[in-house]
Symmetry: C2
Subunit: 169 residues, 2 copies
């Protein structure tokens, strides 16, 4: 039987996930005339949307207010958690490195996106440029990133390890 | 003259920058018993601190509330801007990929840090693990990141390009 021997891509999104992508795209579309960038995102857990986000960088004066970050903040705030393990993130566009790392810190199970970094670049956004920059040695970056190991550099780490009531994440 | 021929590292932090690093470290230290991770950051422009941040991930239920992100949000909020061009970020510890990309989006001139990703790893944090993951092909990630180009994928980008009143960043 052909169907039983067909290759299945374990990372492919099942068709029912498209509804969440469409919702993210609609959030992005509505955001264009609402003073934000053309990006939207939804966090889904157990078949229910538990958080949504729209890009608010210019409107809220927050360079980190990307749609995915806003959706993660919204979901965590509503649920009263700092881990979204068991949840998935649907985004209208490929998460930039900031948003992708936010998804990792949020312990999301899965990320699905519609448009990609090349579409974002066509619209004038630096997502692709920053992905490219992160692959290059920092010594070649236009923004210097400098390590300066002052005498007290390790003090907070030591204090953390000595603090028995610490909440790890 | 030896001094005129000495190599100068253009990325090296001048000694006066140490005062800002010490302030970031003190913010980190104080945060340990205040319910946050051992990380602090300061944004400086024109010799003045214009924003500060402490890690608030567990306390505020926000996986993106890293010290550097909080300092960038604080500075932008106080100044009413979404670009920190001309400003520098001082952090008690090497920014993770989320924070480093936040610094890029914020158009910061320069980033200086004291402890590094190895110190953070010793304290149980995943900064180094996520840097390592970002170097690997996504197909090998434990968190699938899936592109699914639905029919309306480009609609927000097209709407953005057609919207003449858009505010670019």
């Amino acid at each position: 039987m052909t169907s039983s021997t067909a290759q299945v891509d374990p990372t492919a999104a099942p068709p029912q996930e498209d509804q969440w992508l469409v919702r993210a795209v609609n959030l992005a579309l509505r955001n264009v005339t609402a003073g934000g960038g053309p990006f939207g995102a939804v966090v889904v857990r157990g078949g229910v949307a538990v958080g949504t986000g729209q890009n608010r960088v210019t409107r809220d004066h927050d360079p980190t207010a990307h749609a995915e970050v806003m959706a993660i903040r919204d979901a965590c705030g509503r649920l009263g958690v700092f881990s979204l393990a068991g949840a998935c993130l649907y985004s209208s566009c490929e998460p930039c490195p900031l948003c992708l790392t936010a998804a990792l810190w949020a312990r999301l199970d899965r990320v699905v996106y519609a448009a990609n970094r090349n579409d974002a670049a066509r619209a004038g956004f630096d997502d692709r440029a920053f992905y490219d920059l992160l692959r290059r040695d920092r010594a070649a970056w236009p923004m210097p990133v400098v390590e300066r190991r002052i005498a007290c550099a390790e003090a907070p780490i030591e204090a953390w390890l000595a603090y028995s009531a610490r909440v790890e994440y």
